[in-house]
C-alpha cells in the first residue's frame, strides 16, 4: 500500500517537473494580466482617469448592441467557412505530397510560400486580384461569360473574399502539420494491409485517417481558436468595411480599446468571446471519441 502511494507521489513529482516551465510561464505572464482584464470588464476605464465600477453594464450593453451581434455573426460565418475548407484542403494537399511524386519537395516549398510572403505583399496582390473591373479573377470569369461580383467592395461577397484569401494562406501551414502527422504512421501497417489486399481507398479510411486523427483534432481546435480571433486580414484589407460587412469580433475589440478608449467594454467583449470559444472547444473534446490515442 505504502509503496503504491510512494510510487504515485513519485509519478506526480516527475509529471510536475515536466510541466513546471510552462506552468511558471502561466503564473508569471498570463494569470495576472488576464485577471486584471477581467476586473476591468466590470469597470468604465479610459486609461487617463481612474476606473469606475459599473457592474455588468459592459456585458449587458452588448446584448442590445447591433454592432456586437453583427460582428459575432460575421466571425461565426467566417469560422464556419474557413475551418472546413482549410482542413479538407490542407489534408488533401498533404496526402498528395506525401506520395512518391516527382518534384514533391518543390511543390511542398511552393505551397508553403504564402506562409512566408510578406503580409503587405499578400494584401496588395489580393486586392489587385479582387479588383472588380480589371482584376485577374473577374477577367478570367468574364472570358467564360460570367460577370464576377465586386468581391471586397460587395457587401455580400466581402466576407467570403476574406475567407478565400485566408484559406489560401492557411493551406501551406496546416499542410506542414498534416505532413508531420503522416510521418508518424508506421509503414509496417501499410505493408500488412497491402498483403491483405486492401485498396488504396481502404488504406486511407482504415489506416491513414485514424492514425493521424490526433493531428486532425489539433488542427481543428487550433483553427477554431484562431478563426474566432481573426483580425489582421480584415484589418489590413477592408478595415471591417464596407459598412461592417467584414467587421469581426477582435477588430471590434481593437477599435473599442484603442480607437474609442473604452477599455472596460473591450474587456467585456473579449470575455464573451472567450466563453464562446471555450464552450465550443470543450464540446469538441467531449465528442473526441474518434481521436485515436495510444494512452
Amino acid at each position: 500500500m505504502s509503496t503504491l502511494t510512494r510510487r504515485r507521489l513519485k509519478d506526480n513529482a516527475w509529471a510536475y517537473l515536466f510541466i513546471a516551465p510552462q506552468m511558471l510561464g502561466l503564473i508569471l505572464f498570463i494569470v495576472g494580466p488576464v485577471l486584471f482584464a477581467f476586473g476591468i470588464s466590470f469597470m468604465r476605464w479610459d486609461i487617463g482617469t481612474s476606473p469606475v465600477w459599473i457592474g455588468f453594464a459592459n456585458y449587458s450593453k452588448q446584448m442590445t448592441d447591433p454592432v456586437f451581434w453583427k460582428v459575432l455573426r460575421n466571425t461565426g460565418l467566417f469560422a464556419l467557412l474557413h475551418i472546413p475548407l482549410t482542413v479538407v484542403g490542407s489534408l488533401a494537399l498533404a496526402l498528395l505530397l506525401n506520395r512518391n511524386l516527382r518534384g514533391k519537395m518543390i511543390f511542398r516549398a511552393v505551397y508553403f510560400t504564402p506562409v512566408v510572403t510578406s503580409a503587405v505583399a499578400v494584401a496588395l496582390v489580393w486586392t489587385w486580384l479582387y479588383n472588380p473591373n480589371y482584376g485577374l479573377i473577374n477577367s478570367a470569369l468574364s472570358s467564360v461569360g460570367i460577370q464576377g461580383p465586386g468581391w471586397l467592395t460587395d457587401m455580400n461577397w466581402a466576407l467570403p473574399s476574406i475567407v478565400i484569401m485566408t484559406v489560401w494562406q492557411a493551406l501551406g501551414y496546416n499542410m506542414i502539420l498534416f505532413l508531420a502527422g503522416l510521418q508518424g504512421v508506421p509503414s509496417h501497417l501499410y505493408e500488412a494491409a497491402k498483403i491483405d489486399g486492401a485498396s488504396s481507398w481502404q488504406r486511407l479510411l482504415k489506416i491513414t485517417l485514424p492514425m493521424i486523427s490526433p493531428t486532425t483534432f489539433f488542427v481543428v481546435i487550433m483553427l477554431l481558436i484562431g478563426s474566432m480571433q481573426v483580425f489582421s486580414e480584415p484589418y489590413m484589407m477592408t478595415r471591417g468595411g464596407p459598412a461592417d460587412a467584414t467587421n469581426v469580433v477582435v477588430l471590434h475589440i481593437f477599435n473599442t480599446a484603442f480607437q474609442f478608449f473604452r477599455m472596460g467594454e473591450a474587456s467585456a467583449i473579449s470575455f464573451i468571446l472567450f466563453v464562446i470559444i471555450l464552450v465550443i472547444t470543450l464540446i469538441q473534446f467531449k465528442f473526441s471519441k474518434w481521436v485515436n490515442y495510444d494512452v
Binding site: 495576472g32 479610459d46 486586392t127 473591373n133 465586386g150 467592395t153 480607437q259 474609442f260
Partner: protein, 438 residues
C-alpha cells in the same frame, strides 16, 4: 473603489512582488528606472517619441540636436516608432497606463481632443512663462489653447487644396483655374471640367476628379455649401441640413457619373499613385502630398483652390498635429521649455530646411521662407497654400471623434458604392450621431 477592484489590486500587488523578486537578480533596484534628476546641476534626460517616415527623420533629429546644443542641462532622446498612428496610440496608451510615458510626443490632431479630455496630457500653461502667442497663426494655436488650458503646441499647418494635371487640362482645352481662393471654381465648374477630363475604359481609364467621401477629407464641400457635420458648439449634427445633403448628393453624383474612381478602384491603386501616373485630372488632397508629387517629371501639375458651393465662401480644413507632454512625465517644466523651443524661429527654420512639418506656425518664418518652401510651384501657386492657412478651419473634433468618424464612414461607404442615396444616408446618420453626442 469596490471589493473586486481591491481584490484585483491585491492580486496584482502580490504578483508584481513575486515578479520583481525574480527580476532583481540581474539588475539592481527595481522601481526607479528613470528617477528624476534630483537636485540641481544634474542633467535631465527627456524621452521624446514620435511616429514618422524614414525620410522625415533628418529633420526631426536636426531639430532635437539643435535643442540639445542650446541646452547643456537637458538632453532629449528622440525615439521613433516605425508604424502608423494606430500603433503609436496603442503604445502611448500602454505607457501612460503603466505610468511610464515618454515626456514629449507628437500627436496627430484627431487624437488630441480624446487625449486631452481623458487626462492623458499635461497642461502647459503653468510653465509657459513669456510665451508670445500673438506671433503665431491663430487658426493653428487656438485649437489647443482653450478655457485657460493649453495641451499642446502646434507642429505646423497642413491644409487641403486641389492638385491638377496641367497637361490634361491643356489637352482638354480647359482654362487653368486661378490661384486666388476668392476666385475659386464653383461646384458646376468642377463638374464640367471633370466631365471633359474623363475618358477611356477599364484599367487605363482617365478620371476627371477624385471624390473622397472620408468626412475628414470632404467636410470643406459641406462648409462652402453652408452646411457641415456638427453645429457650432458640437452638440448636434447638421449633416442632415439641406445644405449638407445637397453637397453630399453632388459628390455622389460625381462618382455615379463615372468622373471619379470608385472606392473599389482606389482600393487597388492608391489615389496618389493614380495622380502620379497621369490617370487622374484633379485631386483634392492635403499639403502632405507635396514632397511625393515634387518628384513627378512626366507631366506638369499645379495647385488651385478647392471649388466652392452655394455660399461662395472658400473653405478648407486644417490639420495641425501637436507637440505634447504626456501625463506622468516627471519633467513637465523642462519638457514645456523644449516645446517652446520647437516652435521657435530656429526650430521652425530647421523643419523648413528639411521640407517637413507643413507651413510653419510662426508667421515670421512662414513669411521669410516662402521662397524656400514648395519649390515645385510657381510663386503665384505657392500663395494657394499660404492663403489657405488664413481661411482654414479646424474640424469639429469631439472627445469621441474616432467613434463619430467610424459611424460616418460606414454610412458614406454605402453612398460611395451607390447603395444608399446621399440624402437618406444623411438622415440616418444624423440620428446616430446625435445619439453619440448626448
Amino acid at each position: 473603489m469596490s471589493k473586486l477592484s481591491l481584490k484585483i489590486a491585491a492580486v496584482s500587488l502580490i504578483a508584481s512582488l513575486v515578479l520583481s523578486g525574480c527580476s532583481s537578480n540581474g539588475s539592481s533596484g527595481s522601481s526607479s528606472g528613470s528617477s528624476p534628476g534630483e537636485g540641481s546641476g544634474e542633467k535631465v534626460t527627456l524621452r521624446m517619441s514620435i511616429v514618422a517616415g524614414a525620410d522625415e527623420m533628418p529633420g526631426w533629429q536636426g531639430m532635437v540636436d539643435a535643442f540639445n546644443n542650446a541646452h547643456p542641462d537637458t538632453e532629449i532622446k528622440l525615439e521613433r516608432l516605425p508604424g502608423g498612428w494606430g500603433e503609436y496610440v496603442q503604445k502611448m496608451t500602454a505607457q501612460i497606463a503603466a505610468g511610464d510615458p515618454p515626456d514629449i510626443g507628437r500627436l496627430g490632431v484627431v487624437y488630441m481632443p480624446m487625449f486631452s479630455s481623458k487626462g492623458q496630457l499635461e497642461d502647459l500653461t503653468p510653465h509657459l512663462g513669456n510665451f508670445d502667442k500673438s506671433q503665431y497663426y491663430a487658426s493653428a494655436l487656438e485649437q489647443y489653447d482653450q478655457n485657460g488650458q493649453m495641451f499642446g503646441m502646434p507642429t505646423g499647418v497642413y491644409t487641403m487644396a486641389m492638385y491638377y494635371n496641367k497637361d490634361m487640362f491643356e489637352e482638354a482645352g480647359i482654362p487653368l483655374p486661378s490661384s486666388d481662393w476668392n476666385e475659386a471654381w464653383t461646384f458646376d465648374e468642377l463638374r464640367e471640367a471633370a466631365s471633359k477630363l474623363t475618358k477611356g475604359e477599364g484599367p487605363n481609364k482617365q478620371y476627371g476628379v477624385y471624390v473622397n467621401l472620408n468626412p475628414e477629407r470632404a467636410i470643406q464641400y459641406l462648409w462652402s455649401n453652408g452646411g457641415g457635420i456638427l453645429n457650432e458648439d458640437r452638440s448636434k449634427s447638421i449633416i442632415n441640413a439641406p445644405e449638407s445633403k445637397e453637397a453630399l448628393s453632388y459628390l455622389q453624383s460625381l462618382i455615379q457619373d463615372g468622373y471619379s474612381p470608385t472606392p473599389a478602384d482606389t482600393q487597388t491603386t492608391p489615389v496618389d499613385q493614380l495622380f502620379q501616373s497621369g490617370k487622374l485630372g484633379m485631386l483634392i488632397e492635403g499639403t502632405w502630398m507635396m514632397p511625393g508629387f515634387s518628384k513627378i517629371d512626366s507631366f506638369e501639375w499645379g495647385v488651385a483652390p478647392i471649388p466652392v458651393g452655394a455660399t461662395g465662401q472658400p473653405a478648407t480644413p486644417n490639420f495641425v498635429d501637436a507637440y505634447v507632454v504626456y501625463k506622468g512625465s516627471k519633467h513637465v517644466k523642462e519638457a514645456t521649455e523644449a516645446l517652446k523651443f520647437f516652435v521657435s524661429e530656429e526650430a521652425e527654420n530647421i523643419l523648413v530646411d528639411n521640407n517637413i512639418g507643413g507651413i510653419p506656425v510662426l508667421k515670421s518664418v512662414a513669411d521669410a521662407r516662402k521662397v524656400d518652401m514648395f519649390e515645385a510651384l510657381s510663386l503665384e501657386e505657392k500663395e494657394v497654400w499660404f492663403q489657405s492657412v488664413e481661411i482654414s478651419q479646424a474640424l469639429p473634433f469631439t472627445s469621441n471623434w474616432q467613434e463619430l468618424m467610424d459611424t460616418t464612414m460606414k454610412k458614406l461607404d454605402l453612398v460611395g458604392f451607390g447603395r444608399l442615396d446621399a440624402g437618406q444616408a444623411a438622415d440616418e446618420l444624423a440620428v446616430e450621431l446625435d445619439k453619440m453626442l448626448e
